[in-house]
Amino acid sequence: MTRMPAPIVSPTPAAPAPDGPDKITVKGLEFYYGDFHALTDVTVPIKSTAVTAFIGPSGCGKSTFIRCFNRMNDLIPGTRLEGKVTLDGQDIYAPGVDPVDLRRRVGMIFQQPNPFPMSIYDNVAFGPRLHGITKKSELDDLVRDSLDRANLWKEVKDILGRGGLTLSGGQQQRLCIARVLAVQPEVLLMDEPCSAIDPTSVQKIEDLMAVLKESITIIIVTHNMQQAARVSDFTAFFLQEVAGEAAVLVEYDRTTNVFTSPRDKRTEDYITGRFG
């Protein structure tokens, strides 16, 4: 019932074409927490097999926005979304769409590394088991493969039975990445994945992203502009101009353009450190 689709490995070159295919498109998105209007009129494409960074000052709704792509916001009572979000051209908010299955295809990494309180092996095998894979050999392969892709295999191959929480913060985050990779997602959402871990581990995760983006579409939320500049191909800048009002998408472009010649004054102010 829940057979895995083959991972999408597209033959795109390392440097993405500026006009590469859109993996995700967002049109006229409005987002509400109860009475609070959080985001308004967001329209943005997410290019396939590239890294797109969302930047902006805290409270600008970028974390809210990234959670729209796998419908994590559904879990918060009282939230409401208008507009259209499509994955491969299909509306993910269409009636009847299973958000649970969507979340398997659109994986997510959180700010706080969140390994489950179980062994490293079980952490990685968690997703595949959810989706019906029970054969030991198949699971073993998936676990090794995923840990390897997350650049963690060498460090943990002898301690797979140990608790996931015994690892260091950076290792935990890579374990979480491995855990997501094990369900072979097409899109990887990363919500400030490096803000709670040490610099060496940040480096490792950034290296990892460079490799992963060859096969997976990555969206990263970061408050660290240097990081956005280093890892992303495209950048979207969000801003809540007046406290209590909805945030807007100020500018979206190739990362180099955003950082070298922003079209909007507000973007320029932000990246040159005037506020935020």
Binding site: M72, R103, R105, F110, P117, M118, F126, G127, L130
Partner: protein, 274 residues
């Protein structure tokens, strides 16, 4: 200067109240241990009471106590855990939830003798179950329910929300998330709550005295009656003829309860360490 003296006096009083509390605990334990230890023997534990004044052992009362406690826990555990899952994971704040919480609080505060009379009226008489393990266990269930519900809900709420996100992010359904990540993560604390509730059930008297019956009997089926250790102790103490057996029963009861409490503490501490 006087400010300092006032402080010293106040501190001394606070120390005194704390030490009094500890001293009372040790006095009660010591009293029961000193008087009961001579009575304890395998013979006392494993033989039947004999004669008009219950000489001999207390074995059927131990079995009755364990029987009714186990039965009550078997009934209450799934209900309370799933109820807590509902309150902690599924419920949306609203009228329904506040009714449930209010009911749980009320249930928790019902005096145990009222619960006993309720059990007598409903299970023993109206439902014709009679004085039995089952009647007593069902009455105990309502006593234990709010306790286990609360500790379980707290345990579930203490599981970080990140853990849940991680599971949802992998495409787990709500129930898969609860069952495979939240409950296992909360399990040590849930077990602690269950053990404490078990201790409570073992020590309960007023609920079981008019639901289980008082005749000494070895229960086999849940419809059998019996006499739990607490009621045996009460009857022995008030009859006052065979006090050694009363001391022995009190000590056994105390050992069981302390055992439950200490193992719950141990479990909790082991959980906190990691």
């Amino acid at each position: 200067m006087s400010k300092r003296i006032a402080n010293q006096i106040a501190l001394a009083l606070l120390w005194t109240s704390a030490l009094t509390t500890v001293a009372v605990l040790f006095a009660v334990i010591l009293y029961v241990v000193v008087n009961g230890i001579g009575q304890l023997s395998l013979g006392f534990i494993f033989t039947w009471p004999r004669g008009v004044n219950a000489e001999g052992g207390v074995w059927p009362t131990i079995v009755s106590t364990l029987y009714v406690t186990a039965l009550a826990m078997v009934i209450v555990t799934p209900i309370a855990i799933l109820a807590a899952v509902y309150l902690a994971e599924y419920a949306v704040q609203g009228r329904l939830v506040s009714i449930i919480r209010c009911a749980a609080d009320t249930l928790a505060s019902v005096p145990s003798i009222v619960m006993g009379l309720f059990g007598l009226a409903l299970f023993v008489e109206a439902a014709h179950i009679g004085f039995s393990m089952l009647s007593a266990a069902l009455a105990l269930t309502f006593l234990m329910l709010p306790i286990v519900m609360r500790t379980t809900e707290e345990a579930i709420r203490a599981v970080p929300k990140y853990i849940r996100w991680g599971s949802y992010g992998l495409g787990a359904t709500k129930w898969q998330t609860v069952r495979r990540t939240v409950l296992p993560a909360a399990m040590p604390r849930i077990l602690t709550g269950l053990i404490l509730a078990t201790g409570r059930a073992v020590g309960e008297t007023a609920v079981v005295i008019y639901t289980m019956g008082q005749a000494i009997n070895m229960p086999v089926s849940p419809l059998d009656s019996g006499r739990p250790m607490t009621v045996h102790l009460y009857l022995l103490a008030m009859e006052g003829i065979n006090l050694p057996a009363a001391y022995g029963t009190a000590l056994l009861l105390m050992i069981m309860i302390l055992g439950f409490n200490l193992s719950a503490r141990y479990l909790l501490r082991r959980t906190r360490k990691v």
